[in-house]
């Protein structure tokens, strides 16, 4: 099961059980995620008043979503004015179809991809491969998991679940006969550079995500450290950027704040190595750069979140800080969440964006509601509030028997007479509680929980007799 999108047909319980049995995974996670968290704290400490910046960022993102149609329209018009193409993609199939048709129409046989979560969500690679196009992931982590036929386990660090020896073994299969790789991260990165450079130079299309779109100028902003996004948007003749429609900001003032918070929250850098601003295709006089720029604006369920009581889920800027501080994520890693997005934001987004899977709703339970996620979030998304709202939604959709049971309990405890009666019967039935917890319908819930033992005689009964 480990390593794939396994949401359909499995339960959260099975997936977490498998993950917590994997000692190697937990060891790798503890090391890597700890480094992330330390860096973030140090980077934020250099800011004058990070709390004020985060509060402003929350309000800015919230107000942007409240005006999303206007901001998006301005963005699209500016992309067109700069000579770019815009495709309004309703869903994953629509986006994949557009890109696949584009590749076929332009005779593209080989595609390089920069890191993108949106195209993980749409499973673009499968669509392109089915159309006979070779797809190579070029972010080091994404390349590793592509070779291993796995899926990303972290928004920022897709291969965080693997240790260096596992990575060495995966890359060794790519080395020419007689060449032995060692498990030194720097050497493995050099091997990737060598192999992927040839792919970049031979590709007809580069596909990236987009960290932000800026409506003022129709610019795509790609934030990264390796150069995979720069190469994908520089060398091939065609650049396609797939952007979740909520990733837009209105102004460069807003962008300035967001990139500063993103870098510090994601990796503890003050700015990422490359903050790459793409505005339209290459200009006359440019020696390189793509002839065509296509921006795919992806809805894919996002519009259902807009205007709902969980709209703030759209404020996310995908830094991954909530994953790194989450006591659940730190134990089970990303794959236990079963789908593209993991950690607290994944527990919110999966029930919303993967709503077609009935198994998705239970993801809202993958949290202790401790609130560390909101504390870490650069745009202060109240993740625990959103998780509670989603749990309430799920409860409202619970089965008739379960709801009738809770309703009877609520009615009984709302009246002193029936409340006392229920306590008396609980005391009488005391020896049975252990067995009740083993009833087939209750076992999943009662495992790991201790059934409360009612006192033989209640406090009220003892009070009346003058015993207390």
């Amino acid at each position: 099961v480990t390593g794939g999108f396994t949401l359909a047909g499995t339960t959260l319980r099975d997936r977490t059980a498998e993950a917590t049995r994997d000692e190697r995974l937990r060891h790798a996670l503890a090391k890597a995620v700890g480094r992330f968290g330390d860096g973030r704290a140090v980077a934020l400490d250099t800011l004058g008043d990070p709390g004020a910046l985060r509060a402003a960022a929350r309000r800015i993102r919230h107000d942007l979503m409240d005006h999303l149609p206007e901001v998006l329209e301005r963005f699209a018009d500016a992309v067109l004015a700069a000579g770019g193409h815009v495709h309004w993609a309703e869903d994953a199939a629509d986006a994949n179809d557009y890109i696949t048709r584009l590749a076929r129409d332009r005779g593209v046989t080989s595609v390089v991809k920069g890191k993108s979560m949106a195209t993980e969500e749409t499973a673009l690679n499968h669509a392109l491969e089915a159309a006979g196009v070779e797809v190579v992931e070029t972010d080091l982590g994404e390349w590793i998991i592509q070779l291993a036929h796995q899926t990303p386990s972290h928004i920022v660090a897709p291969a965080v679940h693997l240790d260096r020896y596992q990575v060495r073994d995966i890359l060794q299969a790519e080395a020419e006969p007689g060449r032995t790789l060692d498990a030194v991260p720097e050497h493995l990165a050099a091997f990737a550079r060598e192999r992927l450079r040839a792919k970049f130079l031979g590709a007809g299309m580069g596909i990236t995500g987009a960290n932000f779109g800026v409506a003022e100028t129709g610019s795509i902003v790609l934030v990264e450290n390796e150069g995979n996004g720069r190469f994908s948007s520089t060398v091939p003749r065609i650049h396609v950027a797939v952007m979740g429609m909520e990733r837009v900001v209105a102004t460069w003032d807003q962008l300035d704040l967001m990139v500063n918070l993103l870098a510090r929250s994601a990796t503890g850098q003050h700015l990422s190595t490359y903050t790459n601003v793409v505005t339209g295709p290459r200009r006359a006089g440019d020696a390189d750069g793509p002839d065509e720029l296509h921006v795919v604006l992806l809805d894919n369920g996002r519009s259902d979140i807009l205007g709902s009581d969980v709209q703030e889920a759209l404020d996310c800027i995908r830094c991954g800080a909530c994953l790194n501080v989450c006591p659940v994520y730190r134990q089970v890693g990303g794959h236990a969440y079963g789908w593209v997005y993991s950690g607290p934001i994944g527990a919110v987004l999966t029930p919303l964006l993967a709503a077609g899977h009935p198994e998705a709703a239970e993801l809202a339970g993958a949290s202790t509601l401790c609130g560390a996620c909101m504390e870490a979030c650069p745009v202060e998304i109240p993740l625990q509030d959103l998780l509670l709202t989603l749990r309430r939604r799920k409860a409202e959709g619970a089965g008739r028997v379960e709801r009738a049971g809770w309703a009877a309990w609520a009615a009984a405890w709302s009246n002193p007479r029936t409340y006392r009666a229920s306590l008396r019967s609980a005391a009488a039935g005391r020896p049975l509680t252990r067995f009740a917890a083993m009833a087939p319908g209750l076992r999943a819930w009662s495992e790991g929980r201790t059934a409360p033992q009612p006192a033989r005689r209640s406090f009220l009964q003892r009070w009346k007799k003058g015993e207390v």
């Binding site: 982590g141 991260p185 003032d253 519009s303 807009l306």
Partner: protein, 225 residues
């Protein structure tokens, strides 16, 4: 796929407007902060306001860039010799910027095979030379424009990027670079903020330099320019 715009814009945006028209009231336990009149500036203790150039050099070194502090307005001969020797530079590519071209001519005089920018030339070069349109002191960042440089590849493909930084172009923070971009002047096809050499932490979060972009970035701060 030949039309500039495709898909159904009106239906797409109409759906969003319909959702917002009957929006649920904000009722989460953590209430919204007040509206933001002007986007706050990011201030950092990494900037010494009394020593802009010193801050730039220090912060560039902190992200593993080479930061060379030079008095005049050109790269001194000794520094150029040292860089050529250190990185065994045999082929170089230069951006279209006049100061970068001038460095190219001096490299050619040292026997380096210097070519103007193209992807092919950059792919085979040991060194790429550019200037920058701005540099950010708080983060040790240089800003390279594809319009000024005549393309993007010189700062991306070669294993070493040599960037000229005239002192007059050093600004305190990212705000001085990013915020004016909305003011109306046409943007280049590509504007890149470069903060140190290419790096990845994708294996155990241990930093490896030079994954796709340059392994080494040498910034030459020209105090007289």
């Amino acid at each position: 796929v030949t039309a500039l715009e495709s898909g159904d814009r009106a239906a797409y945006l109409g759906r969003l407007r319909a959702r917002l028209d009957r929006a649920a009231p904000h009722n989460l336990a953590h209430p919204l902060p007040p509206p933001v009149e002007s986007v706050p500036l990011v201030q950092s203790t990494l900037l010494d306001p009394d020593d802009l150039l010193g801050s730039f050099l220090r912060n560039a070194r902190a992200v593993a860039a080479g930061a060379h502090d030079v008095g005049g307005d050109v790269v001194p001969d000794e520094l150029l010799d040292a860089l050529v020797e250190r990185s065994d530079v045999r082929r170089a590519v230069t951006s279209a910027e006049p100061d970068a071209v001038a460095v190219g001519e001096r490299l050619a005089a040292r026997g380096v095979d210097v070519a103007p920018l193209s992807i092919d030339a950059a792919a085979n070069a040991d060194l790429g030379v550019t200037s920058c349109i701005a540099a950010i002191a708080t983060t040790g960042t240089v800003v390279v424009s594809s319009s000024a440089a005549g393309g993007r590849g010189a700062s991306l493909l070669p294993p070493v990027h040599l960037c000229l930084v005239p002192a007059s172009r050093v600004v305190p923070t990212s705000a001085e670079v990013l915020r004016p971009l909305g003011a109306g002047a046409a943007l280049p096809a590509n504007l890149v903020l470069i903060t140190g050499p290419s790096r990845s932490g994708d294996i155990e979060q241990i930093i490896a330099l030079g994954v796709h972009g340059p392994l080494a970035v040498d910034l030459v701060l020209l105090r007289g320019a």
